[in-house]
Amino acid sequence: TNTERYYLVFTEWVKLLQRVEGDDISTIVFLKQMKDKGVLSKTDQLIEFIKAALELSIFSFKESDPTGEVFTAIDALGKMIIKLLVVQDFTEMTRADYLNLVFPVIALVFSKDHEQENTTFNERPHFRLLSNFLFEWETIRGHKFIKVRNVVTRKELLDFDTEFYNIFSSYLQSAQPIAFPGFSFAWVTLISHRMFLPTMLRLPNNAGWKNLMLLLIDLLKFLDKYTDKNEVSNAISVVYKGALRVFLGISNDMPEFLIENHLELMNNLPPTYFQLKNVILSAIPKKMMLPNPYDPTLSLEDIAACKEPPKVFYDLIAEFSTLKKPVDNYLRIPSNSLLKTIISNTYRNEYELKNGIGYDYLSVDNNIVRAIVIHVGIEVGSEYQRMSSSAVFNTKSAYYTLLFNLIHDGTVELQYQVIQAMVEQLRYPNVHTYWFIFALRNMFVSEEWGDQLLEVQEIILRNLLERIIVNRPHTWGISVIFTQLITSKEINLLDLPFVKKLPEVRNLLSPL
């Protein structure tokens, strides 16, 4: 059969690579002969060949002595596929077309293997193939593909580089844990692969960030779906630990990625993941020195960094399309009717099941609230640059008023969510941290609340404590505001009735 013929040719390729070095001219000749002699001269032959070779390689893995070389065939296949990507004459189809032919074949064989009943799927050969793609591509792309002698080809490959990673990334998305749970651990290993993750972080113009965020969100959604707040299965707990370690790595190597994408990460983070939340929000720009947040004489006004707006990468408009106009109009001219419109649009049509601390479902749309709060922060930042600090650091300003009124007129849940989003903005020294500290401090003591004051104070304190009672890191902004509250002469937290009522909270606060 044709399949058997393909097996034979592929086996010859595997044997060739055991006798000559990978960049030997005979490997190119072999591929050329495959084309010339009609093995790979048509697209559907390419599809059939790769399918046969991959099935054979997986079979070979399963049959090999586990203490010996199990990946010989898979390694050879990886090299062939990427070599074809580099050396072929791409006149009739593009490199993207070629990869978009190859990946569905891989997906087909992969999903068939995964879904096979009565056998235990083994993710390792599938992992190895993808890891090899990354290796082979990395080997050729060094120093802008300088190893490629032909100048025209070199430029084509350089232009294709970002697309390579984005196509690879899309394939990973289709193989995500929710779809293929038997591949979960291999998948997490792949998104954090040393030849994928740092490259995606550092592609020119942050070209890899969007797809990388999609993958990280896939991971968070998987964790969220299967994290029951009181009992997390062992396997999910291990996935979580791996995810945490990956985020720590990103925070070390490229904190800007976490800083600029924090909104979407917060939108998708499981609500009980307090430590991971802190890790993400504690990312600080490289080389920034943090003033001591526990210094009671700290003056935010005097910190130059507090005048700078933090960068944002995401597109807020998407979250926020129906509300942007009413919010912007309110910020220009506050009005009650606009406020009502805004508030009513924050409520969901259906309850959202959410494993939270103290709650099991939400009726307010978290993402919209967060978008409103961040939008206010961004507008504060721009006005601050244009005008003066008194225009924005002003409890009469529309920025403060909007948030105040959302809390004043909203349900307890809306109050909680608005304050939570504000507390999330307390990060490293920047104008958002500075302004939201101002806003929260004023709200904590404002007489304008009337008899709502205690409720608002309790929710603010809850949101702050939520972030401080967990193991480190803690964000600079939260440490600053907490220090201010503890050392303030006008507030004694221990005297607040809701603190007195809870000895555990009182005992926590009094030594501080």
Partner: protein, 188 residues
């Protein structure tokens, strides 16, 4: 949404409330050992860690992985490396390659000895090191030579001597001087 909801997190000792939430995820844990396993920081400095990231879990990170590297063309196919007529160099004959090996420094010999087990070159480097008065210790799997400054004291039964020797440590890649009780049947 109030403070009461946080009480189970604060009051961990009480079994009833403690099981309400999975603390390893909510309160988390001390991250110092995780950071340390990642190499953050390393040598008191901040280094990139993702380029040599072995695996998301410490348990599956038990070996180093080859990071990306680039070999310029000028570094390949260099003629006459290791006194070799062929490029890349090869050592296939104990008889014919002895003279080439005699020209190598001690450290090159050690490198070749440890790097190519079960080959002609391992045999050749063994012979050459012996000519230079190094002896191979069978149990330590390390090479040693007499420290010229001290004369060893031979034991009464003639089976060993105690003295000062220079060892080559293949882990630290350096020579080091040690006092040692040397059994003659342990060396070759």
């Amino acid at each position: 949404f109030g403070l009461k909801a946080l009480v189970p997190l604060i009051k961990q000792e009480e079994r009833e409330t403690a099981s309400l939430y999975d603390h390893s995820i909510t309160l988390g844990a001390d991250l110092s050992s995780m950071l340390h396993s990642l190499g953050i920081p390393r040598d008191s400095k901040r280094h990139r860690v993702l380029d040599t990231f072995q695996s998301p879990w410490a348990e599956t990170s038990r070996s180093e992985v080859e990071p990306k590297f680039f070999i310029p063309d000028s570094f390949t196919n260099i003629p006459q490396v290791l006194q070799s007529q062929t490029t890349p160099p090869c050592f296939n004959s104990v008889q014919h390659d002895q003279q080439r090996v005699a020209l190598f420094q001690d450290e090159t010999l050690f490198y070749l000895f440890y790097k190519h087990p079960g080959t002609v070159i391992q045999e050749l480097t063994y012979l050459e090191l012996r000519k230079r008065n190094w002896r191979y210790h069978k149990t330590l799997k390390a090479w040693l030579t007499k420290d010229p400054k001290m004369e060893p004291v031979v034991s009464s039964d003639g089976l060993s001597e105690r003295g000062s020797y220079v060892f080559f440590d293949p882990q630290r890649w350096e020579k080091c001087q040690r006092e040692f009780l040397l059994f003659y049947n342990a060396i070759m």
